[in-house]
């Protein structure tokens, strides 16, 4: 297929059946609307493009900056589209919580403004919060901004009324599904799709999924936050249920490991929420039913999110040459040396002095003629074997002599005959009045 612009590729995503052996529903056919196939990676490509497509030319003439209150996929799509049209993009957020998305936005050339946190010593009379102030600034006409305003912009809903909704009906041979399940973020996709499905068949059941309070699933709002969304209308949904981040990750794992669908946590939450809801109905059904949920985006951007919540998924076997494998005997065999003995030893035998502190601290002050290998890097080097010859005596130093002692133990275990750790570290060295230099 040939296209003139990558924005022409937005939409037209496939509807893929989830294997019944995976979801276990006997009377319901479950389909995933694969929004992760959009060119910039998410369902938000549709809304982003629809909100700016007719305004880009004017914005370019007025040299405006595209701005959105977003910390995720909308910002990503808008950053790409703005870049394609030579416009700067600025994302204002108080919840930049996924480091990979932050890095990606910076890579795309976006400016990210993180709003300040709440006062610790509160002034309750100051109800004019930074977000509201920012909102007024970027919304003012002639202020130099093209503000897409995704939480209040009907063009966000329209993108799904014209695209996502009709596509689902077409792919189900002209029928609306019996159940439609979607996570609620800006409420754009759920509202738009629900409107189309209901017009086609008023009997369709729409389930909105929100995050549990005090929990965090990227791209989903919690039950209070949805009320701050202008596009959110509770009457759109037959029912609103909460999903936890734990459930979202369970769903994500099912999709990525068993369904060949590399979904992010929002898609995982939608799957898990859908199955949980449908399972309650399944046993009582007599005829066949159809259900559709949305897979919003891809998994790759959420590695740190997953690592934080399920470290076990990433566990690596311990490597042999690691301080983590040291035994009490290894540590007991460590040779430590006090400051004055160390000074004498340096003068007499000229050992290699390795300073394990950060380059930043080393640069400020260090023991004369020492070399700096920061501990993380040193650990990496040791995985490969001894980094210096056995006949070269070595003095390891760190701030208080604790890390250096474990590395000395490790080097000794690896067969080095004369490695010592400076007792009390550089702090003891300094406090003893020994010389520290700055090169």
């Amino acid at each position: 297929m040939r296209y003139d612009s990558v924005t022409d590729v937005i939409g037209g995503t496939p509807l893929v059946r989830i294997d019944a052996a995976v979801h276990g529903l006997r009377n319901i056919d479950l389909f995933a609307k694969m929004e992760l196939f959009n060119p910039f990676g998410s369902v938000k490509d549709r809304a982003a493009w629809n909100m700016v497509r007719h305004r880009l030319a004017g914005a370019a003439e007025r040299a405006e900056t595209v701005v959105e209150l977003s910390s995720g996929n909308t910002a990503k799509a808008l950053a790409v589209i703005a870049g394609m049209h030579g416009l700067p993009f600025r994302s204002v957020t108080n919840r930049m919580r996924v480091p990979e998305i932050k890095d990606l936005l910076l890579l795309l050339g976006a400016q990210i403004d993180e709003l300040p946190g709440q006062s610790e010593c509160l002034d309750p009379t100051d109800t004019d919060d930074p977000l509201t102030r920012m909102y007024h600034t970027v919304s003012a006409a002639g202020g130099g901004y093209l503000h897409t305003d995704q939480y209040f912009n009907d063009l966000n809903v329209e993108a799904h009324v014209r695209g996502t909704g009709p596509e689902i009906i077409a792919d189900l041979d002209g029928r609306a599904p019996d159940y439609f399940i979607a996570c609620v973020g800006t409420a754009g996709s759920s509202t738009g799709v629900a409107r189309v499905l209901r017009e086609h068949d008023p009997e369709v059941t729409v389930v909105g999924l929100v995050a549990e309070k005090a929990d965090f699933i990227p791209g989903i709002r919690d039950i209070d936050e949805v009320h701050e969304v202008g596009l959110f209308d509770p009457d759109v949904y037959d029912t609103i249920e909460a999903v936890s981040s734990d459930e979202a990750i369970d769903g994500l794992l099912t999709l990525v490991r068993r369904c060949g669908t590399l979904a992010g946590p929002t898609g995982g939450g939608a799957y898990q929420g859908a199955v949980r809801y449908l399972r309650r109905l399944d046993a009582g059904l007599t005829g066949r039913r159809t259900a559709v949920f949305i897979v919003c985006d891809r998994v790759e951007s959420y590695m740190s999110y997953l690592r934080e919540r399920r470290p076990a998924l990433f566990q690596q076997p311990d490597r042999t040459h690691s301080v983590r494998t040291l035994t009490a005997e290894d540590l007991a065999a460590t040779r430590t040396i006090g400051v004055s003995d160390a000074q004498e030893w340096i003068a007499k035998e000229n050992p290699l002095v390795v300073d394990l502190r950060s380059p930043f601290a080393y640069r400020a002050l260090h023991i004369d003629r020492s070399i700096n290998i920061v501990d993380d890097l040193f650990a990496e080097m040791l995985h490969g074997g001894l980094p210096f010859g056995r006949r070269q005596p070595v003095l390891l130093v760190c701030p208080v002599g604790e890390k250096s002692a474990s590395y000395a133990a490790l080097l000794t275990r690896m067969g080095h005959p004369d490695v010592r750790s400076l007792a009390g570290g550089v702090i003891a060295w300094r406090d003893a009045g020994a010389e520290l230099v700055r090169d």
Binding site: M96, K102, L106, Q111, I112, D113, E114, L115, P116, G117, Q118, S119, E120, C121, L122, P124, D126, T127, D129, P130, L131, T132, K213, A214, I223, D224, H227, E228, V229, G230, F232, R357, S358, P359, F360, A361, Y362, R363, A364, L365, V374, D376, P399, V400, E402, V426, I427, R430, R438
Partner: protein
């Protein structure tokens, strides 16, 4: 009925609440309102912060922010620990000197009067300078009276972030981090009058990213100072570690949800006159921001400090605490609220109960819940047998002849309808909520303060002013 917000109560404070007869006895004797402080708890809280230091091998001082409470007993008890004190006025400095703090353990902070600077310099405490102008004024005093060199920290503000633009509220205090050259010049010029110890910041925010940016900015400022030939060795990161007031996060979540519902008109109000605490209804959508203290926090106090120190520097890709240690710097902190966690309560007698309005002998300046946006229920301590087991949602009116004098605009939840003579105990109020703004409007009495300590299963108490750490049993102990 309004949903509950039950306060978190630990240790001594819990057993104090179980001692109903004792509480009634002291209010009968000393009147309502009455402040109770628990000096022993303060020492335990100091240790909580020190544990974080020890786990990270860091040295440096824990300076209690005096402004959070005026009690003499608390300050004298603190003097008996290893902690220091952060004083922000002439009178607070005098108070600290009189309580027995050594000169290394007193840090003078905030904007300072000439008299405050004089006494700080004369006594020889550490001065945390708020601006280069103040530094110059201090140096002038030291030179004019030929005083010994004063140890000095310089407060900075307006730090730049890398990567993303981490925004922060503009501060009235501190030397702008972008104009450090002036600071170094001033320090060099006055090196006979001041000994430069390091840099400081204090940010009024619960936001960790802003504090991480500031700490990283301080590390860079220290590096710049080293390059200028100065030898600073400490960074003071101020306070703002916070307290979690509520026992159960779900209650906080439920209450905030109900408030949203009430603002949208979906349920009857749960606040006086439908007050929204910053939220408002615009065409069915909630606008504004909930402007109250986050009463339930998963990370606060020492744990918050630990989290900050564990945060990676964006530029160095290494934990900030590790960078501090690598650089051999001492870390000073100035917690106020967090050190006073579970250290006291305000007692008030119920005067009158009409429908859902309970009037108490005390007012909104005596327990500043509303002023500081802290939302939690008081604890009911009945005078005799409880009035019944039917819970009640009530509003709390104070003793001022003013429509606005409500102790909190929240409808509070009580396990039973109170009766005149019962006590309402506002627990965990020692930090900022106890006497920060107490006055005697309408010539109503201001609260007396008593210090209480557990003693062989019972309670001993004395007037705040009578408290000293010595018990008289030292020889036998």
């Amino acid at each position: 009925m309004a949903p509950k917000l039950q306060p978190r109560v630990d240790g001594d404070l819990g057993s104090l609440l179980d001692s109903a007869a004792f509480l009634h006895q002291i209010v009968d004797a000393l009147g309502s309102p009455l402040n109770v402080v628990l000096p022993d708890q303060l020492a335990r809280n100091v240790q909580g912060f020190r544990d974080v230091y020890q786990a990270r091998h860091l040295g440096g001082g824990i300076f209690f922010a005096h402004k959070a409470n005026r009690s003499r007993a608390l300050i004298r008890a603190l003097a008996a620990t290893e902690a220091g004190i952060d004083v922000a006025s002439l009178a607070e400095l005098q108070h600290a000197l009189g309580a027995g703090f050594g000169l290394d353990r007193i840090m003078a902070t905030g904007p300072k009067s000439r008299e405050f600077l004089w006494l700080a310099a004369r006594a020889g405490v550490i001065v945390n300078a708020d601006s280069t102008t103040e530094l110059t004024e201090l140096a002038g005093i030291v030179a004019a009276y030929r005083l010994p060199r004063v140890r000095l920290m310089a407060r900075l503000s307006g730090f730049a972030s890398t990567g993303t633009n981490v925004m922060t509220r503009a501060s009235r205090f501190g030397v702008p981090a972008a104009r450090l050259a002036t600071l170094w010049e001033t320090l060099e010029k006055h090196q006979d009058q001041v000994e430069f110890l390091g840099v400081a910041y204090h940010l009024d925010t619960v936001g960790l990213p802003e504090k991480a940016v500031a700490l990283e900015g301080c590390l860079h400022a220290m590096d710049e100072a080293q390059q200028r030939g100065l030898r600073p060795r400490a960074i003071d990161i101020g306070g703002g570690f916070g307290v979690s007031y509520l026992d159960d996060g779900r209650q906080w979540e439920a209450w905030t949800s109900e408030l949203t519902g009430a603002v949208l008109g979906k349920r009857p109000p749960i606040t006086w006159n439908g007050h929204g605490y910053g939220l408002r209804n615009e065409g069915g959508t909630v606008r504004g921001t909930l402007s109250v203290y986050p009463a339930h926090r998963t990370t606060s106090g020492p744990a918050y400090l630990d989290r900050l120190l564990g945060t990676e520097s964006a530029a160095q890709r290494r934990a900030l605490g590790t960078l501090l240690l690598d650089s051999l710097y001492d870390l000073h902190v100035e917690p106020g609220r967090a050190l006073l966690d579970q250290c006291g309560a305000v007692l008030m007698r119920v005067e009158d109960v009409r429908d859902d309005l309970v009037r108490v002998a005390g007012n909104s300046a005596d327990v500043a819940l509303e002023q500081h946006g802290v939302l939690m229920d008081p604890v009911l301590v009945p005078r005799g047998a409880p009035a019944g087991s039917e819970p009640a949602g009530v509003y709390l009116a104070g003793n001022l002849c003013l429509e606005a004098d409500l102790l909190t605009r929240r409808q509070v939840y009580l396990p039973a309808r109170p009766r005149p003579g019962d006590l309402l105990v506002f627990v965990n109020t020692a930090g900022y909520l106890m006497d920060f703004s107490a006055g005697n409007a309408l010539m109503q009495p201001t609260a007396r303060t008593v210090a209480a300590r557990r003693d062989r299963g019972g309670w001993r108490w004395c007037l705040d002013d009578q408290y000293w750490p010595v018990t008289g049993r030292e020889e036998t102990g």
